[in-house]
C-alpha cells in the first residue's frame, strides 16, 4: 500500500506516483477509432489476385492452437505467405485490443474478438476495422443468424466474420438425477427445473447450479432465451417483464438453497469436478472442458435442451463464441482476409476445429457433417453434438450494444443484491435501469 520510501517531499512523491500511475493509464493520445471503416481493395477477392507477405494474428487458448495448426496448410496453399499466430492470453487480450484501437497503432492484422464484445468495439471505434461486406457479404446465409447479427453494424457494414458459437443446453449429472429419481427429459420449464432441484437436494444433498458471485450468472442466458438483452432499440431494457421473470427465477433458486457460489472460471471447474451441482446450464464448448479437465467423470454427464419459460418456448441461448476481424491498421488486409476466409468458410477446417479444439462452428454447412451425429463416449454414448447442432438453429438473435459492459457491471449489483441480500427483483431491476439510463444518457423502455 505504501508507495515510495523517500522521506523528503512526501506529498510530492506521493502525488507524482499517483498521478503517473493513474493518469497515464487514462490519457492515450489520439482517437484511433473515429471516422469510417475502410474497405479492403476489392481486387483482393479476384481469384487471380495473389496474396503475399506476412501477417500477425492475435488469439488465445484453443483458438490460437487451432490457427497455429491450420496456418501451415494456408502457407502451403499460398506460397510466399507467412502467418504468425500469437497467443496473447485471454487475461490481457481486451486490454491490448482496446489500447491498440484507442491509440491507433500496435495491433495485429487479424484479431480474435468474442461475439458479444464486437458491438462494443464497433460502437466505440467505428473506423477501427475494415469493412468486409464486399468480400464476405455473400457468406451471410451460411452463418448462424445470431452470430451474423453481432458482426454487422449500421449501414450494412461487416466488421468481422463469425467463428464459433456457444449454443446452450443443460448438462446434468446422470448419477444425481437417477439417485433422486428425476427424469431429465421431463424438465420442460424452469419451474420443473426448480422442483427437480429441490428433490435432488433432498435425496443427494447436492445443489443444482454453480454461480460466480462477481458475475451476472445465468441472467444473460435467460434474457436471450426470451429474445432480449440489456438494450432494446437503443433504450434501456433491464427492467422489462422478461428481465423480472429471469431474475425472479434466479432468486427462487437462491432462496431454495440450490445455488453454490464459486468465484471465477476455476471455481466453476473445481466445483463441477467435486460434483457440487447436479446441473450446468451452459454452452457447447463446455464439453471440451469436461473431457480435458475431468476425464475421471466420464459417463456421468449428459445434455438435454435448456428448460424454457413456457413448455413450448425457446430451449436454448448463446454464450460466448468468437469472431475474426481485420483492424484498419493492418498493413496487409488482403492477406488477412484471405486467411480468415480460408479458416472459416470451409466445411473441412470448421469440422476439424470442432473435433480437435472443440470450437463449435457458426458456419452452418459444417453442422451437417456426419461427425456431429457420432456418439460421444464421454457422454455415455449420447449424440451430444447433435443436440447442440439442432439447438444452434434456434438461437434468438438479440441486440448487443456498445454499452453492454456498463450494463453488465450494473446488473451484477442487481443480481447479487437479489441473490445474496434477498432484495426484490422488480425493485432491484428498476433501480438498475435508472442507473444505466443515467450512465448512458438513454431512455428506458419500461
Amino acid at each position: 500500500m505504501s508507495t515510495r520510501p523517500t522521506r523528503r517531499a512526501v506529498l510530492a512523491t506521493g502525488l507524482a506516483a499517483t498521478a503517473s500511475s493513474l493518469l497515464s493509464g487514462c490519457a492515450m493520445g489520439g482517437v484511433g477509432g473515429g471516422g469510417r471503416a475502410p474497405e479492403i481493395d476489392g481486387k483482393a477477392d479476384d481469384k487471380g489476385g495473389k496474396v503475399s507477405g506476412r501477417i500477425t494474428v492475435w488469439s488465445w487458448d484453443v483458438a490460437a492452437k487451432a490457427m497455429k495448426r491450420l496456418a501451415g496448410d494456408f502457407e502451403k496453399r499460398h506460397p510466399g505467405t507467412t502467418v504468425d499466430v500469437v497467443d496473447i492470453g485471454y487475461d490481457n487480450a481486451y486490454d491490448k485490443i482496446t489500447i491498440g484501437l484507442r491509440g491507433g497503432t500496435g495491433l495485429a492484422d487479424v484479431l480474435t474478438v468474442e461475439g458479444d464484445h464486437m458491438p462494443r468495439y464497433i460502437g466505440n471505434f467505428p473506423g477501427g476495422f475494415y469493412d468486409l461486406m464486399s468480400l464476405g457479404g455473400r457468406y451471410g446465409g451460411d452463418f448462424e443468424r445470431a452470430a451474423w447479427h453481432t458482426v454487422t453494424g449500421p449501414g450494412g457494414k461487416l466488421y468481422a466474420l463469425p467463428w464459433d458459437i456457444g449454443p446452450c443446453a443443460l448438462y446434468y449429472r446422470t448419477d444425481h438425477f437417477r439417485a433422486a429419481g428425476v427424469d431429465p427429459r421431463s424438465l420442460l420449464t424452469w419451474d420443473d427445473y426448480v422442483k427437480a432441484g429441490i428433490r435432488i437436494k433432498k435425496a443427494t444433498g447436492h445443489k443444482l447450479i454453480i454461480q460466480d458471485p462477481t458475475d451476472p450468472g445465468i441472467l444473460p442466458m435467460l434474457l436471450q432465451q426470451q429474445g432480449q438483452y440489456y438494450f432494446e432499440g437503443g433504450r434501456v431494457a433491464v427492467d422489462t417483464p422478461a428481465a423480472v421473470k429471469a431474475l425472479t427465477l434466479m432468486k427462487t433458486l437462491s432462496d431454495e438453497g440450490l445455488v453454490a457460489y464459486e468465484k471465477g472460471w476455476d471455481g466453476l471447474v473445481t466445483g463441477t469436478k467435486e460434483g457440487k451441482a447436479a446441473t450446468t446450464p451452459t454452452a457447447a464448448w463446455w464439453t471440451g472442458t469436461l473431457t480435458s479437465e475431468m476425464p475421471e467423470l466420464k459417463g456421468r454427464f449428459e445434455v438435454v435442451p435448456l428448460p424454457g419459460f413456457t413448455a413450448d418456448g425457446i430451449r436454448t441461448s448463446n454464450i460466448g463464441g468468437s469472431t475474426l476481424a481485420v483492424p484498419a491498421q493492418s498493413k496487409n488486409p488482403r492477406l488477412a482476409w484471405a486467411f480468415i476466409e480460408f479458416l472459416l468458410t470451409g466445411k473441412n477446417n470448421q469440422v476439424s476445429m470442432l473435433g480437435r479444439e472443440g470450437l463449435f462452428p457458426a458456419y452452418l454447412p459444417a453442422l451437417d457433417d456426419p461427425y456431429l451425429s457420432e456418439r460421444q463416449d464421454y457422454f455415455g454414448g449420447q449424440r451430444t453434438l447433435d443436440v447442440f447442432a439442432r439447438l444452434a438453429r434456434n438461437i434468438p438473435p438479440v441486440e448487443y450494444d456498445k454499452d453492454d459492459a456498463k450494463a453488465t457491471d450494473i446488473m451484477i449489483s442487481a443480481v447479487t443484491g437479489v441473490m445474496l441480500h434477498g432484495r426484490d427483483p422488480r425493485r432491484a431491476l428498476g433501480s438498475a435501469a435508472g442507473q444505466l439510463a443515467r450512465a448512458t444518457g438513454r431512455k428506458r423502455v419500461a
Binding site: 500500500m1 505504501s2 508507495t3 515510495r4 520510501p5 522521506r7 512526501v10 506529498l11 506521493g14 502525488l15 507524482a16 506516483a17 499517483t18 498521478a19 503517473s20 500511475s21 493513474l22 493518469l23 497515464s24 493509464g25 487514462c26 490519457a27 492515450m28 493520445g29 482517437v31 477509432g33 473515429g34 471516422g35 481486451y94 486490454d95 482496446t98 484507442r102 462494443r120 460502437g123 466505440n124 471505434f125 467505428p126 473506423g127 477501427g128 458471485p213 462477481t214 457460489y261 464459486e262 468465484k263 467435486e274 456498445k402 454499452d403 459492459a405 456498463k406 457491471d409 450494473i410 451484477i412 449489483s413 447479487t416 443484491g417 445474496l420 441480500h421 442507473q435 443515467r438 450512465a439
Partner: protein
C-alpha cells in the same frame, strides 16, 4: 536552500582552464550545461508525465460517442455524485482508511518497538521475515490468500472447522470479503511500516531513555511521553504513504475479489479501470482519476496539517 546556491558554486568554482570569455558567455555556458544534464529528464518528464497529465485533464471534460469526441464540461464530474458504484468505492476506501490503516500502523509500531529491544536475538532475521511480505509478487500473494480463504477446503476454514466454527464464506460474502481484504493488506504491509518505524526508533539516542529513567519514568511513560512524540514525523510518513496506497488500491482486490461481491471491495482505481478499459468510457475514467488525485492531495494535506505541526518548531 541547497539548490539555488549550486549554480553559483559551479560558476565560481574551479577556475576555467580555457581563456575566460565575455561575461555574458560565461553566464550562459553553465545554463547550457545545466540543460544538457537536465534535458533528458525534462524531456521524459514532459513526455510521460506532463503530457498525459494535461491530456487526461482535457479528456475528463469530454465524452466520446462512436469515435467522435464532444466537449461536455463538468458532466463527467457530475455523474460521480449519483453513481452508486463510485460512491460505494469511496465508502470502501473510507472503511479501509478508518480500520486497516490505524490497525496496521499500531501493529507496525508495536513490532518496531519489539524489534528494537536489545535482548532480542536474531534481530536481522526477524526484520527480514517481517519485511518479506512487502517484496512478494502481488499476484502470488493474492493467489495464496485465495487458496487460504477458499470456502471449501481452504486452510483457514479447515482450522476453523477443527475447533468447531464453521465454514466462513470468506471471498463470496460482501462483509467477509471486506474482512479478507483488510487482513491480507495488513499482512502485506505491516512489516514494511515496522521497518520504517524501526529506523525512526534507532535514530533516537540512548541518552533519551536514560534521561527518562533518571527522571523516574517507567517503560510505558518513556514511550508515550518521550519516544513516540519524537517518532511523530516517521509515523506521519507511514500514515500518509499508507493513505495514498489505500486510495490507489488496485492489485490486491483486483486479483482477490475483482471488486466484488456486490461491489464490497470495489476501490476507485479498480472502478476507474473497469470504466476505462472495459466500458470504454474514457472521459469518465479520466474524471475519476482526477477526483482520486484531488482526494489524495486533500487528505494528505489535512494529515500533514493535523499531525505534522511539531516538525515546524
Amino acid at each position: 536552500m541547497a539548490a539555488p546556491t549550486a549554480p553559483t558554486a559551479l560558476d565560481r568554482g574551479p577556475a576555467p582552464v580555457r581563456k575566460p570569455s565575455a561575461a555574458r558567455g560565461r553566464r550562459r555556458r553553465p545554463r547550457l550545461a545545466a540543460w544538457i544534464f537536465a534535458g533528458p529528464a525534462a524531456a521524459l518528464f514532459a513526455l510521460f508525465f506532463a503530457y498525459p497529465l494535461g491530456a487526461s485533464l482535457l479528456q475528463s471534460f469530454t465524452s466520446e460517442d462512436a469515435g467522435t469526441t464532444r466537449w461536455v464540461g463538468l458532466d463527467q464530474y457530475q455523474r460521480m455524485f449519483d453513481d452508486p458504484a463510485f460512491l460505494e468505492s469511496l465508502f470502501n476506501t473510507g472503511v479501509i482508511l478508518a480500520v486497516q490503516v490505524p490497525v496496521m500502523i499500531g501493529l507496525g509500531l508495536a513490532l518496531a518497538v519489539l524489534l528494537n529491544q536489545s535482548w532480542l536475538r536474531f534481530r536481522g532475521t526477524w526484520r527480514a521475515v517481517y519485511f518479506l511480505p512487502a517484496v512478494t509478487t502481488l499476484v502470488a500473494y493474492a493467489v495464496v490468500f485465495q487458496v487460504l480463504l477458499k470456502t471449501d477446503g481452504g486452510l483457514v476454514n479447515q482450522i476453523l472447522g477443527a475447533i468447531g466454527v464453521g465454514p466462513v464464506d470468506w471471498l463470496n460474502s460482501p462483509t467477509w470479503a471486506r474482512v479478507s481484504l483488510i487482513v491480507s493488506l495488513t499482512w502485506r504491509w505491516t512489516g514494511y511500516n515496522a521497518v520504517i518505524l524501526l529506523a525512526g526508533l534507532q535514530a533516537i539516542g540512548k541518552e533519551q531513555y536514560e534521561a527518562a529513567s533518571i527522571d523516574g519514568a517507567g517503560t510505558l511513560t518513556t514511550y508515550t511521553r518521550v519516544i513516540l512524540p519524537q517518532l511523530r514525523p516517521v509515523v506521519l510518513f507511514c500514515v500518509i504513504t499508507s493513505t495514498i496506497g489505500t486510495l490507489q488500491l488496485f492489485d490486491e482486490n483486483y486479483v482477490l475479489t475483482r471488486g466484488g461481491p456486490d461491489d464490497a471491495t470495489l476501490t476507485p482505481v479498480v472502478y476507474l479501470y473497469k470504466v476505462g478499459f472495459q466500458q470504454l468510457d474514457f472521459g469518465y475514467a479520466a474524471a475519476i482519476a482526477w477526483v482520486v488525485v484531488a482526494l489524495i492531495a486533500a487528505i494528505s494535506a489535512l494529515q500533514y496539517l493535523a499531525f505534522g505541526r511539531e516538525r515546524r518548531r
